[in-house]
Symmetry: C2
C-alpha cells in the first residue's frame, strides 16, 4: 500500500522547458470544452499552431460541436504530448486550462496566425478560408505537466509564457528569419541526417518549428532570443549561437 504523499514535485527549469516544448511542439492535441446543451465536458481532436508569442492556436469550424461550445463558454483544456509506441503513461504530456479567444476574421492578427498555421499544416489550406472556419487563441491560465509515472508538476501562466522583447520583431521579420533559418538548417552537419530534410516552418523567441510532410518537431533555442539577438542574426545571416 502506498503512503499518502503530495504527488506534485517542485517546478524547476527542466519542467518548464519540457512543458513549453510540448505546448509549442505538438502538431495536434485533445481539447475539452463545456457543452452548453448538456453541461458535460466534450473532448475532441484539434490541429495546433502557435501565435507569434508562442501561444497555441486552433483552426475550427463553426459547424462543429467544440466550436459552438467554445464560443458559448471560453473555458477549455488542452492535452498535448502524444505517446509513441511504448507505455502511454510513461510518455510526457501537458494539460493546460485555458481561455479560448476567437481571432477576428481578416484582422492583422488573423492574417499572421493564418500564414503561420498553413506553413505548419499545409492541408489546412483546403478549408481554412471556408466561411465557417475561424482561428482561436488558447490563453493558458495554469497547467499540469506529467513527465511520466509519479513525475507531476504544477505550472503557472508565467511558466509557459515566453519572456522576450523580440516577439513583435520576429513576427515582423518572420519571412527573412525563416529564409536564414532554413539555409542555416540545411547547411548544418546533423547527427541524424534525416533532420536535414525538415523545413523550419515557423519560429519565435524560444525556438524553431520543423516540419517534414506530416512529421513535426520543435527545437528549443539554448537561450531565449531578445531583440539584440534578432538584429545579430539579420546582420550575420546565422542562427548558430542559438541552435
Amino acid at each position: 500500500m502506498s503512503e499518502k504523499i503530495n504527488p506534485i514535485r517542485e517546478t524547476d527549469e527542466d519542467a518548464r522547458r519540457q512543458a513549453r516544448l510540448l505546448l509549442r511542439g505538438s502538431p495536434f492535441g485533445s481539447i475539452a470544452a463545456l457543452d452548453p446543451e448538456t453541461g458535460y465536458p466534450n473532448c475532441s481532436r484539434v490541429l495546433l499552431g502557435t501565435a507569434p508569442d508562442g501561444m497555441p492556436v486552433i483552426l475550427i469550424s463553426r459547424l462543429s460541436a467544440h466550436t459552438k461550445a467554445l464560443l458559448s463558454d471560453a473555458r477549455a483544456s488542452l492535452l498535448v504530448g502524444e505517446p509513441g509506441k511504448g507505455d502511454p503513461l510513461a510518455s510526457p504530456r501537458l494539460t493546460i486550462q485555458c481561455d479560448a479567444l476567437p481571432v477576428a476574421r481578416q484582422s492583422e492578427d488573423d492574417r499572421t496566425i493564418r500564414a503561420r498555421f498553413l506553413r505548419r499544416h499545409k492541408k489546412a489550406a483546403l478549408y481554412a478560408d471556408f466561411a465557417d472556419f475561424l482561428f482561436m487563441r488558447l490563453r493558458p491560465l495554469r497547467a499540469s505537466l506529467n513527465g511520466g509515472f509519479g513525475k507531476a508538476y504544477a505550472l503557472t501562466e508565467n511558466d509557459l509564457a515566453i519572456d522576450s522583447d523580440a516577439t513583435t520583431m520576429m513576427a515582423d521579420y518572420q519571412d527573412k528569419l525563416l529564409e536564414i533559418a532554413n539555409r542555416d538548417w540545411k547547411n548544418r552537419d546533423h547527427e541524424d541526417s534525416r533532420l536535414g530534410n525538415y523545413v523550419v516552418c515557423s519560429l519565435d523567441p524560444e525556438g524553431f518549428d520543423l516540419r517534414r510532410g506530416s512529421q513535426f518537431l520543435r527545437l528549443a533555442f539554448q537561450k531565449t532570443m531578445k531583440t539584440e539577438g534578432v538584429k545579430n542574426i539579420l546582420k550575420s545571416g546565422f542562427f548558430a549561437d542559438y541552435t
Copy 2:
C-alpha cells in the same frame, strides 16, 4: 466559401460498428472532467480497459486531479482513436459524453474488471493495488463519431451498447473461452503472420481484444454472440464461425 449545411450524416450500421471498435479497441484515451476548483474542464490521458459488457473502464489514482474531479462530478467525456502517422484529422475518432462511476474496491465487479484490465495492461499490476487507486466505469450517454473530414455521426447510448444475452455467461467462462480463443488464434492461417503473435487478452459478445507487448488491436466478430453461440464454442472448442 462553404454552404451552410448540416454536417452530421445519418447514422448507419457501419458508423455504429466503427464507433464500437474505437470504444473497445483503444488502449488509452483522453478524458475530460470538470475541475471542481476552477470550473474549467480538465483534459488528461488514461489507460482504457473494458468491463465484461464492453463498457470502458479506467484505473486512476485518488492523488491525481482527474480522479478528484470525477469523484466530485461524474460528468465526463472520453476521446479515443489515436492518429497514425498521417493527417491527424483524417483518422477516425470517437467522443463520448459519459458518467464516471466508481467501482467499489474488493467487490466482485472490481475483481472481474481488475483481472481483465491487468491482462490488457500488464504494467498496471505495479500500481493497481495501491490504496489510492480505483477503477471507474464510464457509462456512455451519447457520442459523436468523426470518421474523417466531413464524416460526422451522432450516436446514442444504444448504438454503443452490446445487445446480447451472453455477457454474464462470457464473463463467467472467461478463462475457458480465452484458452479456446488463444488456441484457435494461434492455429489459424493469418494473412499477416505477425498477427499470430498477438494474445487474446479479453473477449466479450462483440469481439476479441488482442495484445502483443504494448501493441493492441481489437477484432470484431462477424455477428454478436448470444448464449447459444457460447455454448457451441464451449462444446466445439472453436470460435471459427465468429471470426
